[in-house]
């Protein structure tokens, strides 16, 4: 019996990320500790956050710690430390010192068996490199259920291609949740790194696209149920991620997946509006431009025209909003966002006496980013606004002045939209005489002179 035990212990001891099984079997923990601790020391030089582990996982005393001799509580405490260490080392898996340090945890604390999930999450963004294949070679025969799809790659000792991970994410909610949970938690703790977010973004974006495609078969009612179910699953993940002001990359990664969802998910206006509000609620100066691009895609698929009060209020605060919208409009359609925003800004001007929207409206009307009909609608609503202002709503007359000069500028503007604006005036729907008196300026005169 004891020889069997010895054999089993030897076999277990041979599992290594660094050494050939034969070499590993013969290694003492003391010899191993020296090699692995060197790696750990280098990590501490790179990032001081590793240092506290010198007192625990990498202490001198750790050489004699044996999991099998520890209580359940001690084991749980060890698991927590292992988890914390792995989260920190995740960004450095391509560095030898990191592999050496992880080697210690494998050999001494058997984390490949006891912390398989955490270890797999740590290495998964690196699924294409040899270190991942080595990891596969030491994992226990039975993998956690959401990672069972890796079994063929364990057998053949090859790296799983990304397409396999995407396929799994499309078909197995547990796998997609596992990587989403892991990535979100890393971001919450500010232990994220670019490759982790890029990895998640790629899998999530392709998975959303694939899941929506798969939901396409069948009747429309069934499709909508499928999309709703998917929204129910992913909505909370997107919602949290878009509010992570301290992790701009995660916000942008989520805009990516949300853009795909909105583009082909047949989402209703309520859902699209909720996404829009989450974007403007969470964005920072670093994420405003991609946020605006995502907003324009969401608006494009929304049937309501006018932007909501919340979104409008947030948009007014964006520096050089008009210019940015025009700039984005050179790359893609922004007309529904820009048009809906202009309508909301005109309303704000009348109801709240807030003239800050006027420069944005001018930029949009002259920037060739909305359609002719939309230009006409916005211009008409500006004229209507001018009529609605009076001594009561605008006691100082300052609003009328600003609006007046905006209308003059627009009517004198020479460009494609100038024809539309002129035709709106000439159609006779606008009482220029009355407007002149009200605004104390002469649009018609200016037009003739101009």
């Amino acid at each position: 019996k004891s020889s069997l035990d010895t054999k089993a212990r030897k076999a277990a001891h041979s599992k290594s990320l660094l050494f050939d099984p034969k070499v590993a079997t013969a290694q003492s923990f003391q010899a191993l500790y020296t090699i692995c601790h060197d790696g750990f020391d280098e990590l501490c030089h790179l990032d001081a956050r590793f240092k506290p582990f010198a007192l625990t996982l990498f202490s001198e005393q750790s050489q004699n710690e044996d999991r099998t001799q520890m209580s359940a509580a001690e084991n749980a405490e060890l698991d927590a430390k292992v988890d914390a260490f792995l989260r920190l080392v995740g960004s450095r898996i391509r560095l030898m010192p990191a592999i050496r340090a992880v080697e210690w945890l494998v050999r001494r604390f058997r984390i490949h068996e006891e912390n398989t999930r955490a270890l797999l999450c740590t290495f998964l963004p690196y699924h294409t490199i040899p270190a991942f294949v080595t990891l596969l070679s030491i994992l226990p025969a039975q993998l956690p259920h959401e990672y069972r799809f890796l079994h063929p790659y364990v057998r053949s000792l090859t790296a799983p291609p990304r397409s396999v991970l995407v396929h799994e994410a499309i078909h197995k909610p547990a796998f997609l949740s596992a990587i989403s949970d892991y990535t979100l938690e890393a971001c919450r703790n500010l232990q994220h790194y670019p490759a982790l977010i890029s990895f998640w973004a790629g899998i999530m974006t392709e998975a959303v696209n694939g899941m929506l495609d798969n939901g396409r078969s069948g009747r429309q009612a069934v499709q909508q149920d499928n999309d709703q179910a998917l929204l129910h699953r992913l909505g909370p993940v997107f919602g949290e991620a878009m509010l992570m002001k301290k992790v701009p990359n995660m916000q942008i990664a989520t805009y990516m997946a949300v853009s795909i969802f909105a583009s082909k998910g047949n989402l209703d206006d309520g859902v699209l509006s909720a996404f829009m509000e989450q974007i403007v609620h969470g964005w920072t100066s670093e994420t405003m431009r991609p946020g605006l691009v995502c907003l324009s895609i969401l608006a494009h698929h929304r049937s309501a025209k006018q932007m909501s009060g919340k979104v409008t209020k947030a948009l007014i605060k964006v520096p050089n909003l008009g210019g940015t919208l025009v700039d984005i409009g050179r790359q893609q359609r922004v007309d529904k966002l820009a048009h809906g925003l202009c309508l909301a800004l005109v309303e704000r001007l009348c109801k709240k006496g807030d003239p800050r929207g006027l420069p944005v409206i001018r930029a949009v009307l002259t920037g060739q980013v909305i359609r002719d009909k939309q230009v006409a609608v916005v211009f008409k609503s500006l004229v209507l606004a001018a009529h609605r202002l009076n001594d009561e709503t605008d006691p100082e007359g300052s609003m009328r002045k600003e609006l007046g000069s905006a209308l003059i500028d627009l009517s004198r503007h020479t460009g494609d939209s100038s024809d539309i604006i002129r035709s709106v005036i000439e159609e006779g729907e606008i009482d220029i005489e009355e407007l002149e008196m009200k605004l104390d300026v002469s649009i018609r005169q200016q037009k003739v002179v101009g």
Binding site: R94, P125, Y126, T128, I129, R162, S163, V166, P194, A195, L196, I197, S198, F199, A201, G202, T205, E206, N209, G210, D213, N249, I252, A253, Y255, M256, S259, I260, S263, K264, G265, N266, P290, V293, C294, S296, I297, H300, H301, S303, K305, G329, R330, Q331, Q332, R333, D335, K336, H339, Q368, V369, I370, R371, K373, Q374, V377, K380, S381, G415, D416
Partner: protein, 57 residues
């Protein structure tokens, strides 16, 4: 009320090629990818409707 005729709108669900999307992310492993913002613009380029004015005035 004032409204825009939606005849010119093309708000129907987009068709996004799985293959082209995969190509964007398969071009490099996650640790060697361009910035996430660059990736975002590559993805949105695939799904966005073409701009109204193709040449700037």
């Amino acid at each position: 009320e004032m409204d825009v005729d939606d005849g010119e709108d093309d708000t129907h669900a987009a068709v996004i090629s799985r293959q082209r999307l995969a190509e964007l992310f398969d071009a490099a492993p996650a640790f060697a990818m361009p910035s996430i913002e660059d990736m975002f613009y590559k993805v949105t380029e695939l799904i966005s409707a073409k701009p109204l004015a193709t040449s700037s005035a």
